[in-house]
Structure formats: C-alpha cells, structure tokens
C-alpha cells in the first residue's frame, strides 16, 4: 500500500476509474456495503492513484488544515493501476 496507507487492516481496493468521483464513490460504497454485510470491518479504502490525486486536490483545503483524507469514513490510500 502506498500514499495515505495508515495501518495494515482490511483494505478495500476499488479500481473503477472515470473523469470524476461519482462513479468511484458508487463502486466504493457498493464494495463497502458488501463487506459490512459479511461482518467485515474495512480500515482503508484504496483507489487508483489518479483518483487519489483528484480527491486530494478536491480536499486540498481540508488537507491544509490537517484533516486526513477520508472517504466514506475510511482513510484513503492510492495504488497504481495494474
């Protein structure tokens, strides 16, 4: 795990990409709810690096005041598309 990885818990990896974040969030929510239904407790959400950077730019004001990058309640991490 790369940028933003906070600890070694259960990482949910979402590979959907698009020009914005609407599709990514939808895919991520579906995945998180699948985990929830199984009684899992994800600790990190990992998205493709371009998406991570896009979200980081959207949340730049939060980051500037020390708020961690959190999406759907989970710390965000980046992975490089295979």
């Amino acid at each position: 795990m790369q940028a933003g990885a906070a600890d070694a818990g259960l990482t949910v990896v979402v590979d959907a990409t698009g020009a914005g974040v609407a599709s990514l969030l939808d895919d991520a929510t579906a995945r998180l709810l699948e985990h929830e239904a199984r009684g899992d407790h994800p600790t990190i959400l990992s998205v493709p690096r371009p998406a991570y950077e896009l979200i980081a730019s959207i949340k730049s004001a939060d980051l500037a005041r020390g708020v961690p990058l959190i999406v759907l309640g989970l710390p965000l991490a980046a992975h490089d598309p295979a």
Binding site: G20, L25, D26, T29, A30, L33, L72, G73
Partner: protein
C-alpha cells in the same frame, strides 16, 4: 462528494447544458389542469430555465409557449386569451398554441411576415390532472403512467411549493431514508410506535403491518442505522432501507422501499390506501418546483382531506404558501423554527410540517452547495447512486445514447413505495413492486 465540474453538470439545466439536454428528453409536469381555465388568464411557468406561459385557449386547446412576445418582448402572461391564440396586449400579435403567429395587425395588410417564423412552443398533454410538457426536440416518449394518472378525477391531490435550491439537492432528500429518524421524528410518533410494539410483546402478537387511525404506518423500529440496498431498474433504481424492529428482530425486518424514476420522480411509501409521488421539477439552476402528489386509491378527495394533508405537509395555502407557491417559512425567518417546540413540544426539528422540514435542510445548504466540501458515508448510498446515474445519463445523452427510462417501456403504474415488516427469510425485493389494489 463531487468534483466542481460534476456538481455543475448535475445542477445546471439550461438549454445548452448536459443535464438540461437530458431533462429535455422526458415529460415534466408544467402545471395542473385545474390551473388553466378556457379563455382564462395565461399562467407563468418557468421550466429548465425557460420562461413560458401555459394557457387553455377559448376553444379548449392547451398551449405552452415562450413568455415573451416575439414582437417586442412583453409578457404574454398579460395577453388576451382568445378562442385559438394568445393576443399580446401591446400590439395585438396573436400566438397560437403551436407557436404559429396568427396575426400581426399593425403590419402592412398584405404582409406575409407572420408566416415566416414560429414562436417558441412546446408539446403538452394532459393526463391525471396534470399538464405535462415536453421541452425536447423530436417525438416525445410515452407519458409516464404513474399509478395516480390512471385514477378517476378527484383522487389525486397536488401540493406544490418552490424549493429555493437546485433540483438535485431537493430530490436527494427523497432518496435518503436515514434522515427520517432524525429530521422528521416526533415525540408523539415515538410514543405511539413504542406502545404498538409493547402491546404486541405483551399480547404475544406478530409484527405485521400496522396502521394508526389516520392510516399512517406504525413503525415497529427505532433503528437509526438502516442497512441500504440499491438496485438499478429500467426506470432508474429502487432503494430499500432495512431496519431491525424493536422486538422479534430474529424473525422480522422492516423494509422501506422507494423508487427513483428518472429524471425527477420518487415514489415513496404512503399510508394504507394511498400512493405518493414526489416530483422535483427544475425551475432553473437555483429553484425547484416541488410537487407532492398524494393519491387516494379508494375514493375522491374531500376538502377536509385536502386541508389535513396540506396542514401535515406544511403546505397550507395562506398559512404556509402564497398564491405563487412561495413558502412563508424561509431562510430569512429561519424556516420559523421554534426552539420551545424542539425542547418541549412534539416535533424534534421545531419546524412544522414534513415538507417544510425537508425544505429547510435543503434550502439551508444554499442554492447549489459546493459538493467538494461534503463528507458522504455509506448511509448515503442512494444519493451516490442517483448522482452517478444522472451524470452518466447526461454524458451518454450528449453522445447520442438513449438515457435510462427511455430505453425500454416500464409500467410505472404497478410501482408503489412500501414500508412493511416482513419475515427475515423474505427478500426485500418483494416489497414495493407489482402492487395492486
């Protein structure tokens, strides 16, 4: 969370915008049939950022034309309503329902000027007591056959109010079941539901659907963390909030199902014998005409029914609304929130009427909230799906694709929102579909 571009795309509805292009593929309610009197006053209607007037000419033909006279631009809302056209009071130009210029009396007698162009005019049809408008090009799709449309006249009640925010912000409140526990709760409701459950526990009954004396569903739950399910459909999606009941949670779950019907409709659960539809028609980028359609499936509405429902919603003409659907509760008076009511009274929000409660929280965000600043959770799943679906459809429509709801025929008349407590073994998909009676 959306990017600034996505938020713009979602909320802007003018003629040259992606979402405006998408909206113009569908029928939208312009006004009610009762709003238009044959030969009576034309009615201003602003739809998708366009200023229009709806009218019923003296011969009964219904029209929806550009508000501003094609001559010098004064409002045709001031026009005389003749047998077959509106006649501008300024210079007498006459505009027919199909946009033809019928007369230009101040022009030379032998002029053919009037035959050389048409005024803006859109296709309208009337069904179910509603004047439906199609602002797109080409042939319109079939009219949406919502359950209320097929009922005899007088069964459907139309409550309307302007929401001072964009259409998506308004609609998202209707696909957000989790807020019900927090925004709309009342001490009397909590006590009533608690008593219902205690009686069942005491007398050994089953947790089946219960209704109070006014037909309102008794909710055997106080679960503020519903488990959500969203399933795409040919018309949009259906959405379930699944909650644990207060007792017998090892045997039952409560399932509340709503249907999002693209582009602006949400079918929500209603009391026994009623169907409910919420409509969020974009007036422009910053304002929405909110329709609350309540249909009595058994019998026509009485005046008392109208008063009771308008009162409960907080949409009582005179008290809550002026004659142009402007709300009395608004930002400037803090939506008339009553702090004593919050502390000691019934409504925990301190705001009278469920629709006013919704309007308050939606308008309080401002006309277009900056969605880069929000922090969504998994409890926002239906909102997230809605945004994706509409953004995908807007992009696809711009690329020539057929959007959701128009790819194949959907029988909307069998869809009803439902709130039921069912055995755990019964899938949530059995709720709110193919309802009859």
């Amino acid at each position: 969370m959306l990017t600034a571009l996505e938020n713009d795309t979602l909320t802007r509805v003018g003629p040259e915008t992606p979402m405006g292009g998408l909206m113009r593929r569908y029928w939208l309610p312009a006004c009610t049939s009762d709003d238009l009197e044959a030969g009576g006053a034309p009615r201003r209607v602003r739809l998708l950022g366009e200023d229009l007037v709806a009218f019923r000419s003296g011969n009964g033909e219904t029209g929806l034309v550009g508000e501003y006279c094609p001559h010098r631009g004064t409002s045709l809302a001031l026009a005389r309503n003749l047998d077959c056209a509106l006649e501008c009071i300024y210079h007498g130009w006459q505009v027919a329902a199909d946009g033809r210029i019928v007369d230009m009396p101040a022009e030379p007698e032998d002029s053919t000027y009037k035959d050389k162009f048409r005024h803006i005019a859109y296709t309208v049809r009337e069904a179910g007591g509603v004047v439906w408008a199609y602002l797109g090009a080409g042939d319109p799709p079939p009219l949406p056959n919502f359950e209320f449309v097929g009922l005899a006249p007088g069964h459907a009640l139309f409550l309307r109010a302007i929401a001072r925010c964009n259409w998506a912000q308004s609609l998202e409140g209707a696909i957000d079941s989790a807020h019900q526990t927090y925004l709309h709760d009342a001490r009397s409701r909590i006590a009533r539901d608690q008593a219902h459950v205690e009686r069942i526990a005491r007398e050994g009954g089953e947790l089946t659907d219960g209704f109070d004396e006014t037909g309102q569903v008794i909710r055997p739950w106080n679960d503020g963390r519903p488990r959500l399910q969203v399933e795409n459909t040919p018309y949009g999606f259906r959405y379930a909030a699944i909650r644990k009941p207060m007792i017998q949670e090892d045997r039952y779950h409560n399932v509340r199902v709503s249907h999002f019907v693209a582009p602006v409709y949400v079918i929500i659960p209603g009391p026994a014998g009623w169907a409910q539809l919420l409509v969020h028609v974009p007036i422009d980028d910053h304002n929405t005409m909110f329709w609350h359609v309540r249909a009595n499936l058994m019998e026509p509405y009485t005046d008392e029914d109208r008063r009771i429902h308008a009162d409960a919603a907080g949409l009582l003409p005179g008290r809550d609304l002026d004659g142009s659907f402007n709300r009395v509760p608004r930002r400037e008076n803090n939506w008339l929130q009553d702090r004593d009511e919050m502390r000691f009274g019934d409504r925990l929000s301190g705001i009278h009427g469920t629709v006013n409660e919704d309007a308050a929280v939606q308008e309080a965000m401002g006309p277009i909230f900056d969605r880069t600043k929000e922090h969504l959770g998994t409890s926002d799943m239906a909102v997230i799906r809605f945004r994706r679906l509409m953004l995908d459809c807007a992009a696809g429509n711009a690329d020539g694709e057929v959007p959701v709801g128009l790819r194949e025929a959907s029988d909307l008349s069998v869809l009803r929102g439902q709130d039921r407590t069912i055995p755990l073994a019964e899938p949530w998909q059995t709720v709110g579909v193919a309802v009859s009676g």
